[in-house]
């Protein structure tokens, strides 16, 4: 019986267990208009990648704990000293020094507004979000960048005040664990697994 591939790190190395790919037979592609002549062949692929978050892991770990971490350049010699980044940047783009991790949860709860948005009726393969997807880009006081995310309740408008919600039950440890709802939304209307 197959099992999902799982990975841990031990002694600085990946320890891999389970199945990381599944073999499916090729099938012929034939031309219906030309006496079913052979045109080509399907090449099935089913693979699982092993991906590290590296220095951003603190951000993705924080989401399931109801925290939003950003980062800040504290290099006194940098022209961008004091600049706060969300999305999290491991290094300052100006001096390339290692940024300081900062907890922006309260900033996000009290100052988040929608900079722009998009209601998308379609998705690509492997999408896990409900459609239509309400993409929003969120700006915050004192943060130099604008976070892309999605709105889970209501219809987005530019300038709308929003607050973060977190998938704390069965988290995916991806950016989809963070979503937003209009300010004032109550817990009982949140999607399953999410909390204010």
């Amino acid at each position: 019986m197959s099992m999902f591939g799982t990975v841990t790190v031990k002694g600085g190395k990946y320890r891999i267990r389970g199945d990381f790919h599944h073999i499916t037979p090729n099938t012929p592609i034939r031309n219906e208009d030309r006496e079913w002549q052979l045109v080509g062949v399907t090449n099935p692929r089913d693979m699982t990648y092993i991906h590290t978050y590296g220095g951003e892991a603190v951000f993705f770990e924080g989401l399931c704990q109801g925290k939003i971490h950003g980062s800040r350049c504290d290099n006194p010699g940098c022209e961008g000293k004091g600049t706060v980044y969300l999305p999290f940047r491991i290094h300052c783009p100006d001096c390339l020094g290692r940024n300081t991790v900062v907890d922006l949860t309260d900033v996000c709860r009290t100052t988040a507004t929608i900079h722009t948005f998009m209601v998308c009726e379609r998705s690509g393969a492997f999408n896990t979000l409900d459609k239509p997807i309400r993409f929003i880009n969120v700006e915050f006081d004192g943060v130099s960048t604008i976070l892309m995310s999605y709105l889970s309740v209501g219809e987005p408008k530019i300038g709308m005040r929003v607050i973060p919600i977190f998938r704390t039950l069965d988290p995916t440890y991806t950016i989809t664990d963070l979503s937003w709802v209009p300010d004032g939304t109550s817990q009982d209307v949140l999607p399953k697994g999410f909390h204010l």
Binding site: I29, E121, G124, N127, F135, I136, I146, M148
Partner: protein
Amino acid sequence: MITFSKKQLKVPKLLRPVYLVTAGQSKFARAIPEKRTEELVVDAFTMAAKMIDKTPAELKRYIHTAYYGHFADHFGDQLLGEAVIHDRLGLDPLGNIGIKTGGATGGSTLWEAVKAVASGYSDCVLAMGWERMDEVPTDEGNHLISCAADKDWETPLGHIYTGYYAVMAQKYWQVFGKEEASFRHTMAEISVKHHGYARFNPFAQSPMKITVEDVLNSPVVAYPLRALDCCLMSVGAACAVICDEDTAMELTKDTKNKPLRIWVTAASHTLRPACRRDMEIPLLPNETADQYADIEERFPGGGRYPGFTGFLAARMAVWYAYRMTGVVEPMEDLDVVELHDAFTISDIQTYEDIGIRPYGSGRDYVESGDCYHTNPHTGQPGRLPSNLSGGLIGCMHAVGATGIMQTFEVATHIWNRWEEMHGDPALWEAFNRRKPDDWTDLQVVGAKRGMAISHAGVGSHVTATVVMDPDSLLKEDA
């Protein structure tokens, strides 16, 4: 805040003149089951040879190095596809390299090719681009394209690139378009124009005789963008041969092609729109800082630059290109352009980035009729016709080939060979396409200078390819 050092603003200089000698392309379509990629590449190369009355074997004898634009290895499920193509073209053991910069791959391929000749490393090079986007169904194709966004911060959000791109469209639509029905109408006109011009292009994938209403009634993809506002997903190949002066003259002797001077510049900006930091607008030669002093007043929410409404990479690509080639007023100095119309709204945004209209006024380029081959309001030639090929919306977006196709199109006007390269009944027949009864010659009469903009994703990479008749230069030492 992004700031520049003096060294970063150095105007690029080629060490010797570089020439576009010939170009060619394959048929473009959503799927081409009957041909492998190498067959499409051979089609493009054979056409390029034929344009200068050479056999492929004769042209190959001139090539010293090769530059291959192919963006998405995962679409074709073939790493090192460049090596496959190079072998099939019979160009081993010459040096070759693969280039990939998303939607700008074609332009970036030309960028590398031009620099190779300008530096003296090679006297004659091949720039060939292709893409094979029919190896997966469309939804998986959308996932693969979404991998060109940040894989941790964006791709998991819907696996659909349109979503990451269209948030910028929404901002532009609300701030500069003011959500006006008239602006939405202007966006639709671009689709009508590009699908319409594609009707006269035998290479084109999506020729359509449609109306503004058809566009406005097409299915919503991501409001306000509808299906007919969006570019195509394509298969095909395009190539160009780039030379130094002596080789260019030798290759084109007694042929219809006059070697054209070519320059390519490039710029970039963050993959994540989220990470766009505020900065001052880098000004083009036809702009002053004063004209943008009240932009926030005129367009509330539009004061942040580049914000989500401008493409900094496009602005910087032409910032370098115009100074390099002597272009001051693009509406006057250029005769024809091919722009990267990934979406109707981004076409409008690009008009502003490249200075054919000031920021906030892009729609006027369409509404004035300037962008048409023949101005619909006056019946006179458009001041600066754009995307007569049909562009990415009507002709194709076979990513690695797109920037080269655009340059081919611009060059055919300057060579005065547009009618021949698009009207030949044999070409329509070879592609199994019907030449329309109202087929119209879109040759821009007297064209001497043109430009192609090749653009990646949310503006991560942009190139500006400027092509000029060598007897109509704007700057002596360009």
